[in-house]
Symmetry: C2
Subunit: 333 residues, 2 copies
């Protein structure tokens, strides 16, 4: 499942380690997990058009910016965002240092194992949980905490490590775009420092190409040693109308291709589509209740409603997970 971080080949060859199975090599187009059909064809056509030197739609390499949402687009997001599982596990780990949590919501319910009651407090409860689990330490300590968690945490229904619940077809797509001179960015509502811990190893996306939600940090000298302290204060929410803002702040160039799965990605796709020249916008539509989950217009997570309408009107690509993908997750590591 681990993608090599760098891929210098110019041909449409997937570079992979761990994934270097015969299937990948045999397909030849770098997208063996994508079934033949309009979604795959649209991807191949767009890449061919934008990379053909001298063609009317040719785009120079420096402008081949592709942005990907994470939750629900590159990895699964059910039954709740994986970062929330991390936060809940942290509450349990920190509980011995906080005897007062036994009497205090949302922690009391959480510690009794009643996640639903804990989250009934809505956004306020979630912010409280995120604050105690994501702030108060140095950036280096936080990175280590997240790294340690990924090493042992398992998804409640599949039993797999969370970083193995990434979508094999999307891993291939990331590598395929990079092999064709695209620079791939993550632009997600998830925490930027949370995602950076695994994005390079799992997606081949280096930390400087990860854009996400953030809390403020503060530079300090502690015993003469410079550290950055994570503060319990939201800095930026990289979701919905925040996505074009985050793209502009971090990338400073409009993407020519954008990939999402929910209404939270709609503004990113609109912003991408509104530039001149060739553009590519894609929604992953979760239609596979058997191999993954099926949800869209009425889901409490990853709702895809307005986006589905707009994709129809504008001719954006909508991936039908069930029929377009012959594999969901990578082979078990």
């Amino acid at each position: 499942m681990l993608l090599a971080a760098r891929c210098l080949v110019l041909a449409a060859v997937v570079c992979s380690s761990g994934l270097a199975d015969g299937r990948l090599q045999a397909a030849g187009d770098g997208l063996p997990s994508w079934n033949a059909g309009p979604s795959k064809q649209a991807i191949l056509d767009f890449v061919a058009r934008t990379t053909r030197e001298g063609g009317v739609d040719f785009v120079p390499e420096r402008e081949r910016i592709a942005t990907f949402d994470n939750d629900g687009t590159l990895w699964a997001e059910q039954p709740m965002y994986f970062q929330l599982f991390f936060a809940l596990d942290r509450v349990k780990a920190l509980a011995p240092q906080h005897p007062e949590w036994k009497e205090q919501e949302p922690f009391a319910s959480l510690l009794k194992g009643d996640t639903q009651a804990a989250l009934a407090g809505g956004e306020k409860a979630i912010v409280e949980i995120l604050t105690v689990t994501h702030a108060g330490m140095t950036t280096e300590d936080f990175e280590q905490i997240v790294r340690d968690w990924f090493a042992t945490a398992r998804h409640p229904t599949t039993g797999r490590p969370y970083t193995e619940m990434v979508y094999q077809p999307m891993l291939e797509l990331l590598a395929y775009l990079r092999a064709n001179g695209f620079k791939t960015f993550i632009v997600s509502g998830g925490g930027i420092e949370f995602m950076r811990v695994f994005a390079e190893r799992v997606y081949g996306v280096p930390p400087e190409q990860v854009v996400g939600s953030s809390i403020k940090t503060k530079f300090e000298l502690r015993d003469g040693k410079p550290v950055l302290i994570r503060l319990p204060e939201v800095d930026f929410i990289d979701d919905k109308a925040g996505k074009p803002v985050g793209i502009n702040a971090h990338i400073g160039r409009r993407p020519i291709a954008a990939f999402g799965n929910s209404d939270g990605d709609l503004e990113m796709l609109q912003w991408t589509a509104a530039g001149p020249g060739p553009r590519f916008c894609l929604f992953v539509h979760h239609t596979d209740a058997e191999r993954e989950w099926a949800y869209d217009r009425k889901s409490h997570i990853g709702q895809l409603d307005k986006g589905l309408d707009e994709a129809g009107v504008r001719g954006w690509t909508v991936v039908d997970m069930k029929s377009d993908w012959n594999v969901i997750y990578p082979p078990r590591g």
Copy 2:
């Protein structure tokens, strides 16, 4: 002066267009504008150590992050920051639409040509000037305004375009590092969207590798067209203790080399130096009153005081502009 944006050679060869003169080729080390001496030697040694595979100080390419301050490090900053010249010119250009400015400071003094009186209002005056000149338009309109300004504006004492007042030795250093697998970033107190207009063409640094101060932006649909509006509200000041914060937010990885010229860069150098493994920190010391400007501990711009002390104690490289550089600016374009 224009550096090619991409340089794929792995050898220490400067890639340039416009600069491709015999002098560069002859020197062979990619740093012909640097006189032999301890500063140049320190650079060559660091790059040799960190790129020698199998050596104890070898650093993988993905971690070869180098950050550069802009004002006073990559281009000149006297008699005042170039972005302030832009703002003053904009006030004049906008004055016909603002008859009230004739009676209202700091604009009244500015329009009478008395910059000193206008700036006597200190930070408040500067913020007022920056607000009316940098906010209220879309990001695309702002980019065009800056681009148009650079096309005709000239520095008051040299008469050169501002983008030709970059330091030739630093252009060579940027290209030299990139040719050795380093990723070069700008980390400056200057405006991020102001610098992005010229950073790729002039420095070979793409927009996504520019970190700077910013104002907030807001996504809107105007007549169905998505735009980002620049708001009159500071988002982030990328100076002093803000530099490590900006580095962490944008790059997410600690640099192994950092280049500055003032106390505003001290925290960036401290943050860089505090990581494990080989580290390189450098201050450009403005010592050349004849070819450029000479200033340090008591300057009102680009003060270098604490930084000079700390560089001495910690053995950081301090470039003596007068003796270390045989050329200051590139040949006239």
